[in-house]
């Protein structure tokens, strides 16, 4: 049954997956455009690393985008068909959701492999200045973990009812609105800051998205 579900999910998402894979392959190549092995001064190196770091911002964004698109295409047809296909299967709901989750994870491997291959090609094709190293495998591993977390989050939201999604978004939106009101009222109360810290500082779920996403670094 897993193979059938994987096949259907592949059919639904192959076009968009192809685009994501192309972007994933191209990103490492684009990020090393400014790298050259000449006799470089301190500011040249700083500028070069800053350029790579700027491109690096796109890795977590790409991981999140790939996860969001896959999560949406995983559940989209089920939602549109009122879950008749799923209900007709002789398996409990958790089993069905698990199969869908697994199939999505397998498809998510494609952009991860594309990032890895792109990073390997970019590293091999670039002559690095002394002291700098390429980290293609670790970068791909980090991309994979970020994509997994984002996929699981979006999958959980997509799998829930509209009410659940509404509550999640409502809580986030409400927090932002209250914070804005507090700011306008010139108070020093910071509601969003601690919340963000919980999300982005270890062991928060989004910690993997933070830090330097550098294919080339010291």
């Amino acid at each position: 049954m897993f193979r059938q579900l994987l096949y259907t999910q592949w059919k639904w998402s192959r076009l968009v997956l192809l685009i994501i894979c192309l972007a994933s392959f191209a990103l490492p190549l684009l990020s090393v455009q400014g790298v050259r092995p000449d006799d470089l001064g301190r500011f040249d190196i700083e500028q070069m690393l800053a350029g790579i770091q700027t491109w690096g911002l796109l890795y977590p964004i790409l991981a999140a985008a790939a996860a969001l698109i896959l999560a949406m295409t995983t559940w989209g047809p089920d939602h549109r068909g009122k879950h008749i296909y799923a209900l007709s299967l002789p398996i409990p709901r958790w089993h069905y959701a698990l199969l869908r989750f697994g199939a999505g994870c397998v498809l998510l491997a494609a952009p991860v492999v594309a990032v890895w291959l792109g990073a390997l090609v970019a590293s091999a094709a670039t002559r690095l200045p002394a002291g700098l190293e390429a980290y293609p495998t670790i970068l791909a591993m980090r991309f994979a973990l970020a994509a997994l977390v984002a996929y699981a989050a979006f999958f959980a939201i997509s799998a829930g009812t509209n009410r659940t999604a509404g509550i999640v978004l409502g809580v986030i939106g409400g927090l932002v609105v209250v914070q804005m009101i507090l700011l306008v009222a010139d108070t020093n109360i910071n509601l969003v800051g601690p919340f963000m810290l919980q999300l982005f500082v270890w062991p928060g779920p989004l910690e993997i998205f933070t830090g330097r996403w550098m294919l080339i670094d010291v």
Binding site: L40, W94, A97, L145, A152, S158
Partner: protein, 358 residues
């Protein structure tokens, strides 16, 4: 026709005659006239500036011996910054911080009620409208540090070309020094990175100041530096055309020694000085600039200031701190990886428990 000819002849005659002030004597006279006029204008400007200042009511803010002049409308905003700045200066420079009292610092904000006041002092700080207190503090600290630096001896100032100011980026940016040390194309910096303290001395400009061309660079460095000069003739050209190292050496000797680029940037020297002052504790800066210290080499002075046994200990400590500040690369720690996997499982589990079909 004849009228056109006449006009042409007159025009040619006018061109052929010497123009006004073309002779040397006339030119000298004109320069003298302009110089006098400029001096008169400058005097008038100073008088006008002085009159403009006289119209404004200033308050003098005092913190220790430090005196800061500010227009009355901004005194409330400046006073806390002056207080913080003095405490920072005193904490770093110790008794030497009292030198700031020798000069008066003026602070003004853009758009202040009294308008822009023309000050004729290098100790004037012009800031944007309603700046945050931290910004005012930082600028007052920098100005105070500048006054202190003016009284440093030449050995110290020639070693450390940039101005050292407390609270500056010297320690916060050790990661930048790490990147520089790890990626510098200069042989001394690379050797220093891997632990050669003799090379560290040269890279930081602590040693080899008598003959920096040979002491700070190897042949490859010399050629690489000269290649950046642009196309020139003589020794520069010979060096650039893969000539002998002697040509590269001669080309580098065209640059005054004090202007030769050091293997490591001033940021590295600032970080060393900050580490020295931190290690030395209270009174460290006073020891650094004491007349007893001035008799020693710069390396010995720094070691005495830091109260360490030798320059080697000092450089080892500096290297250790720089290495500890290595920027975190893309690498994923085991904790981060497990946390991500765990969150993936938890969120996936939430999806399995969804009430969608109930």
């Amino acid at each position: 026709m004849s009228r056109r000819l006449l006009c042409t002849a007159l025009w040619l005659a006018a061109c052929a005659a010497p123009a006004a002030a073309q002779t040397r004597a006339e030119l000298s006279q004109r320069i003298a006239r302009l110089t006098t006029a400029f001096a008169r204008a400058e005097t008038a400007r100073l008088r006008a500036d002085s009159a403009a200042r006289a119209r404004v009511t200033f308050d003098t803010i005092r913190a220790g011996p430090m005196r800061v002049l500010a227009a009355r409308s901004i005194v409330r905003a400046v006073a806390p910054a002056v207080d913080s700045a003095w405490r920072a200066l005193e904490a770093t420079f110790g008794l030497s911080a009292r030198i700031v009292g020798q000069e008066t610092i003026a602070v003004q904000f853009w758009g202040q009620a009294e308008g822009n006041i023309p000050f004729d002092s290098p100790n004037t700080i012009n800031l944007p409208a309603a700046p945050p207190t931290e910004l005012v503090t930082r600028y007052v600290i920098q100005q105070g540090s500048r006054i202190v630096r003016q009284t440093e001896d030449t050995q110290l100032t020639s070693w450390l070309s940039p101005q050292f100011a407390p609270g500056g980026p010297a320690l916060d940016r050790l990661d930048v020094v790490y990147v520089e040390l790890a990626t510098s194309p200069r042989s001394k910096a690379r050797s220093c990175f891997v632990g050669d303290l003799v090379a560290c001395r040269a890279a930081l400009g602590l040693a080899g100041r008598e003959d920096p061309v040979r002491a700070w660079y190897d042949a490859a460095d010399r050629r690489a530096i000269v290649r950046r000069f642009g196309r020139l003739g003589g020794d520069v050209g010979r060096c650039q055309r893969d000539g002998p190292d002697e040509a590269c050496e001669a080309a580098l000797r065209l640059i005054p020694p004090e202007q030769l680029p050091r293997p490591l940037s001033p940021a590295a020297q600032l970080s060393l000085l900050q580490i020295v002052l931190d290690a030395g504790g209270p009174g460290a800066y006073d020891r650094l600039r004491s007349s007893a210290a001035a008799k020693h080499s710069i390396e010995e002075r720094l070691a005495l200031t830091a109260r360490v046994a030798s320059g080697d200990s000092l450089l080892s400590a500096w290297r250790a701190k720089v290495h500890a500040a290595r920027p975190h690369t893309v690498e994923v720690s085991a904790g981060s990886a497990w946390a991500a996997v765990l969150w993936g499982v938890v969120l996936g589990f939430l999806a399995l428990r969804s009430t969608r079909w109930r």
